[in-house]
Symmetry: C2
Subunit: 379 residues, 2 copies
Amino acid sequence: MSKRRTDGRPTIADVATRAGVGAITVSRALRDPSLVSDALRQKISTAVRELGYVPNLNARALASTRSDVVGVLVPSLTQHIFADVLRGIYDGIGTTRLHIQVGNTRYDLDEEDRLLAELLRYKPAGLIVSGIDQSPAGRRMLEKANCPVIQIMDLSDDPVNKIIGFSHHNAAKAMTQHLIEAGYRRIGFLSGWMNSRSKGRLSGYAEALDEAGFFDPALTNAAGDLGALALRGSWDKHQYSTPAMGRELLSELWRRAPDMDAVFCNNDVLALGALFECHARGVSVPRDFGIAGFNDEDFMEAASPALSSVRTHRWKVGHDAVVALRRQLDGEPDDERVVDVGFDIVKRASTDRRGLGAGEGVVELVASQPAAIGSGRMA
Amino acid sequence: MSKRRTDGRPTIADVATRAGVGAITVSRALRDPSLVSDALRQKISTAVRELGYVPNLNARALASTRSDVVGVLVPSLTQHIFADVLRGIYDGIGTTRLHIQVGNTRYDLDEEDRLLAELLRYKPAGLIVSGIDQSPAGRRMLEKANCPVIQIMDLSDDPVNKIIGFSHHNAAKAMTQHLIEAGYRRIGFLSGWMNSRSKGRLSGYAEALDEAGFFDPALTNAAGDLGALALRGSWDKHQYSTPAMGRELLSELWRRAPDMDAVFCNNDVLALGALFECHARGVSVPRDFGIAGFNDEDFMEAASPALSSVRTHRWKVGHDAVVALRRQLDGEPDDERVVDVGFDIVKRASTDRRGLGAGEGVVELVASQPAAIGSGRMA
DNA sequence: ATTGTTTATGGCAGCGCTACCATCGGATTG
DNA sequence: CAATCCGATGGTAGCGCTGCCATAAACAAT
């Protein structure tokens, strides 16, 4: 009665006293009401209301060696891509007891390891991490995490536990093939800086061109000499793209390969920049020059001309990751270790060189397990 | 020795035993090494390393009735605006012991209250919330939160504790005045849907026009009859903007006011849509039509023509909020309850009707406490 | 009627850490 | 040299909840 160091808020014991039951019964009534009889449940919820009782999650987590925190590691907050994934994650969490804690790795493996270690101190309920490029130490932490781990936004034969994503290689290859079919021959690849997923796209692009006999290393600024171009100047530490970068990179490429007649851009923001550059130079899109992007963000269809892109299902990836997590937490079996959500090739005016369906976006599904069109956007 | 229910990981007691000291000394050595002698600190850190000891944050939080979690409530994850704020927050947190837990309120007061209540269960170290429109219940929770509370992205005479932001009214007024000075007379206001900050901008826009004698309610789609236009159809539950919406809204406004010669857009995304619509119609910008946006996102300067905008210091707001939080946690005094980070009017080609400085962005500082230019972007 | 099984409830102890106070040697002071 | 103070360290008793087991009552099976 002297050494109290509470913060004054009612505890489960107070509720129990008031309701005339044992503390453990209150605990049960709150966690799983079905374990408690109607009569007591009634009394307890009245007591809870009257006292304004709020459970202390730290105590719960300590006692059960398990918190309600779901750790999410994303490489960037700036890119729309991960904002969409996060939205899917939040929508998947809904009003469950789970809470999200996001870590921003900034594409830095050391930082990722650090954040992972920090997250594990909370005894998280689950983890969602982007990609498959964890460091050996990071991989080990994930394997010993003692909670469900979902990797997202890529595919792998050997996920830690489960992976939900799509093939960047295949997506880029399909779009490049579309550009070839549309009649373009000297197709460039525009990229500001490379991460492992960008590299997958680059390889898909190269493969498509190679198969068609049109590959020319001079047409990409991301391959061999990217140090000189893409990562030059102040961009070296900027791991994001801007339209201004798109304009500059396109100019640079054109300087080296004046006969280039199309670009496949590593992302939509660069594609937008490419379009602006064409506007500024008076280059006619799609007649004299084709432009395609990657991700199909909002602005692609509204651009003038509308820009072709690879639609990726970011919202779905985030959402499904949480659904899978919850399922595992509920003890339901889940043996589908690799989930391919696919992608769509969205053909719009910017690559419609022959005027086949100018203006209207044509969506072509290209995916091992195609996702529903439009699923990427929900309120 | 029988009823163990640990998860097997070493505890502070194990470290203490191995180092031959008391548990409390280990605790101190970890939290504030200066409290422990060199010799013991050495022994303890060796023991920590050898055992691979990792502190259990849930236990720490329970024992000290205070966690390391900083709760952040944002109304949207989709908009770049809040992504930038979040980036500032993460950069401000750095590698301190603080961790971020973000709640997405979706511009819903009830959801905000719910998330606030959930966050408080963690006994957070601090709270950062967007805006000043909390519900009475939410406001009460913030006031009784027993931790520093920082409101952001707006200004108020009566913050819960501290507020860091800028005046949306003044910013919009300044930009509207720029449009008037540039020679536009029939200036419209384009907005998809309204929140309290949008309303501040609308009032600033209206005030500027009113003072100049050019105000015409027919030129805004956000005022009286917004239900009919802005929130029509499927947009009603979409609390974000797209360029497609910008195009459609601009068309709608033009239908009602064919002589409109400029628009001030509630955000940059709508401005981009407006620009695309002008491209599609062959309307010359800025000669026949002026366009201005709000926030100055990346793509504004790269557009062709470059788009004028109000630069807001989102990164700085997030960053400074965390810095203030940390300062309060460290017990340092902080009597500056209202911090105005200001804004800049960025004049670019899209509003340069008279051809004064076409092409190059001219930045004019308009702020009570102007922030450094370019501060909004950091790696 | 007896035994076994299930369901509802409670008691106890423990989760891993830190607040609080006590202790103790050594430095400082007059 | 006694009185005082101070920094370093430790012991004890919580923080508020839940895991585990016991118990009692209700019910089913023999």
